[in-house]
Amino acid sequence: MSLTDKDKAAVKALWTKISKGADAIGADALGRMLIVYPQTKTYFSHWPDLKASSAPVTKHGKKIMAGVAQAVAKIDDLTSGLLDLSELHAFQLRVDPANFKILAHCLQVVIATMYPNEFTPEAHVALDKFLSNLALALSEKYR
């Protein structure tokens, strides 16, 4: 399910509308994931506070969205564009790739709550494809 030109245009158009709120989206999505999918907390045992509004969650949500922004910029070749991030996730973080889908879902839920008019079904399908391809690029170096 690779990205068509139409998908790329839709993702870029949606990103233009939501990028100013990226930090808030990242923090909300991450905090939400830790609550709705408690098994994901296992990756953050080194944080003292896992509440949605805590400093580590807010900071890390920002970092995640910077990664998403990098992916939007490299949308024509996600595999090479996200090589450094793939190596990080594969060799250091070793996050089970099943969790990429979970975070993608939470990102979409947050975007739906914050931008209901922009997150049309057409925007949704393009973003869902984009996040799936992003996850695939992130898992590239795993084995």
């Binding site: 905090g31 879902h105 839920v109 739906a112 709550t113 079904p121 949704h124």
Partner: protein, 147 residues
Amino acid sequence: MVEWTDFERATIQEIFSKIDSGVVGPAALSRCLIVYPWTQRYFGSFGNLYNAAAITSNPKVAAHGKVVIGGLEKAVKNMDDIKTTYKDLSVLHSDKLRVDPDNFNLLADCLTIVVASQMGQAFTPDVQAAFQKFLAVVVASLRKQYH
């Protein structure tokens, strides 16, 4: 037997009392057919599903969306034994409709997105957790009679 906390019970009742089934049902089903186009395989008799605009304005899709929400409302009224409540529905989806049960999760995700966009900030993480738990129980009950 599924254990529901007071918060979960109250949250589910409140969501379904507040949402407009005539809006949420059609929106969730049409979103599912657009975002996961392979689900269209079950709706061959619904006519024009060629693009997003056609799906969104298709009256059969809208009508069926309402049927789906009606089914969910039945589960809300019988939260303590959804499995038994859904026995016939499960047989129907397995034997007559022959729906791949993995599709239930796709529709559930679209329902979550639609309810989230309706509720905005009120769709907190705890509310999302309760709603997704409810949908997980519904999906498991719908899968139960597959053989």
